[in-house]
Amino acid sequence: MTDVSTTSGARPGGGPGPGGPTGPMRAVLDAAAVQRALTRIAHEILERTQGADDAVLLGIPTRGAHLAARLGAQIAAVEGLELPVGTLDVTMYRDDLRLRPARALGRTEIPAGGVDGRLVVLVDDVLFSGRTIRAALDALGDIGRPRAVQLAVLVDRGHRELPIRADYVGKNLPTAQRETVQVRLAETDGQDAVLLGVKEGAR
């Protein structure tokens, strides 16, 4: 149960994942592809929620938060609809806390209307083991009771360890365990990209 899923993706603070240095990385999505994926997700959200009038976007810091902000902006541009956008830091709910030194918390900002009775769409950059999302669901439960929760991710790299799935996926990217996926965003890293590499000395 306590497998050290090193690149589950959504952790506060930018930078490469833990679990050892990586070899050379190649881009599997360039900036344009990232943008297209986000545009598509925005449209899908609008479609499947029939207008998203009670939706709330909550991004998981760090990069998920930026993605949520972008999705909100996208939806506003397309539909003229200002969705509440916020962030949900899951550090305190992680199941691997005791495996690493205590780490700094990310910002949690729940929009003014709260989450009770609303459709919460969690937004994260990479979906891997699913543990981060499990933690997010626990965190959400202590904040209120949404009528439903959906998940939007930029990349789904497989290897789920829990029964968790994404509703909206930017790119399905089958990977090996020993590979590492890193998302770069203009807001944190200067440019948009999704990179794939191999962990050095990977098991």
Partner: protein, 341 residues
């Protein structure tokens, strides 16, 4: 696991202190939620070992630990084995046998927390909740947090700490921490209540309050014990209040943005007038509220991970490390670290 404690603010680097304050800021938002609880310390046992009375601080720590889902055991001096003469060592061994992950200790003797941390009796983390006249690190942290939330960054800010500095653990902790965070501290007290060798402390000092007030961003009042009058530290309460008390006129002499702080409990009419205590400039009630968030941050950063995220490396207790290097060849040679400033 590396064993680290929070015994003194002198052990905190600027990064450590900032991390605590930032973490506290995030945790403060918990107060707005219906469920004010996080699962982070579930299954951990935090013992409040209060060998000196304090309801306020103990409740603050208890709330902090419970909000992180830790199990809390309260152990106070009155009516306990300690009041029947049990030694600190035996009390500590009992707590260790009960599996305490952390001991929050308030002790009437300076160095009490240090001894608990280093004597080799317990393996857990020790958080100093006030030891004699030595230090009260979480008080200083919540003071810094309060100042930061009222004034913004503390770098370059000027703070006056006024009152019985000699006997104040709050003053000592604040001097270290504020200096670390880049603030300039001026201690104000009558000469009898100023610590020996204060010139060596990282702050300025003055025997007069009025010249200091117009230049500071915050005034931190310290509680003065009336009994000190009988030990000739000052002649009468009236004279003390006149020379060192902050009343409405003195408050008016402060810059507009400046705040008045007090760690509590207050002697209304002695070091602080009722009018000042209840004014908008007074941060007294905020300090209390901020205490819970700050203590949650401290407990989380010390206990929440596989190893603490703050504090300095401390040797495992039990042995007498001091003798091996202390003054071995020359007097005053390299010494054991301990509570060095």
């Amino acid at each position: 696991m590396t064993r680290r404690h929070l015994l003194s603010t002198a052990d905190l680097s600027a990064d450590d202190a900032t991390l605590i304050l930032d973490t506290a800021a995030e945790l403060a938002r918990l107060a707005d939620r219906p469920i004010k609880k996080l699962p982070t310390l579930r299954g951990r046992t935090v013992v409040n070992l209060f060998l000196e009375d304090s309801t306020r601080t103990r409740i603050s720590f208890e709330t902090a630990a419970k909000r992180l889902s830790a199990d809390v055991i309260n152990f106070s001096a009155k009516g306990s084995s300690v009041s029947k003469g049990e030694s600190l060592k035996d009390t500590a061994l009992t707590l260790e046998a009960m599996g305490a992950d952390a001991v929050v200790v308030r002790h009437w003797a300076s160095g009490g927390a240090h001894r608990l941390a280093h004597a080799g009796w317990i393996r857990g983390t020790v958080v100093n909740a006030g030891d004699g006249t030595h230090e009260h690190p979480t008080q200083a942290l919540l003071d810094a947090y309060t100042l930061r939330s009222r004034l913004g960054s503390l770098d370059g800010r000027r703070v006056a700490v006024v009152g019985d500095v000699l006997h104040s653990r709050v003053a000592r902790s604040n001097v270290h921490l504020l200096a670390t965070l880049g603030a300039e501290v001026t201690l104000v007290a009558p000469p009898t209540l100023m610590p020996f060798a204060v010139e060596t402390w990282p702050c300025a000092y003055s025997y007069e309050l009025d010249p200091v007030l117009p230049k500071v961003d915050a005034v931190m009042m310290l509680r003065v014990q009336r009994e000190r009058m009988n030990q000739a530290y000052f002649p009468t309460e009236r004279e003390y209040a006149r020379r060192y008390g902050v009343h409405a006129e003195r408050m008016a002499a402060l810059p507009e943005h400046a705040v008045v702080m007090h760690p509590g409990p207050m002697n209304r009419g002695l070091e602080i007038s009722a009018e000042v205590a209840d004014s908008a400039r007074s941060t007294v009630t905020e300090q209390v509220a901020n205490g819970v968030s700050v203590r949650m941050a401290v407990l989380y950063l010390l206990l929440g991970g596989s190893e603490p995220a703050i504090g300095t490396e401390n040797e495992a207790g039990g042995t007498q490390p001091g003798a091996t290097q202390a003054g071995a060849t020359q007097p005053g040679g390299t010494q054991e670290g301990g509570a060095a400033r």
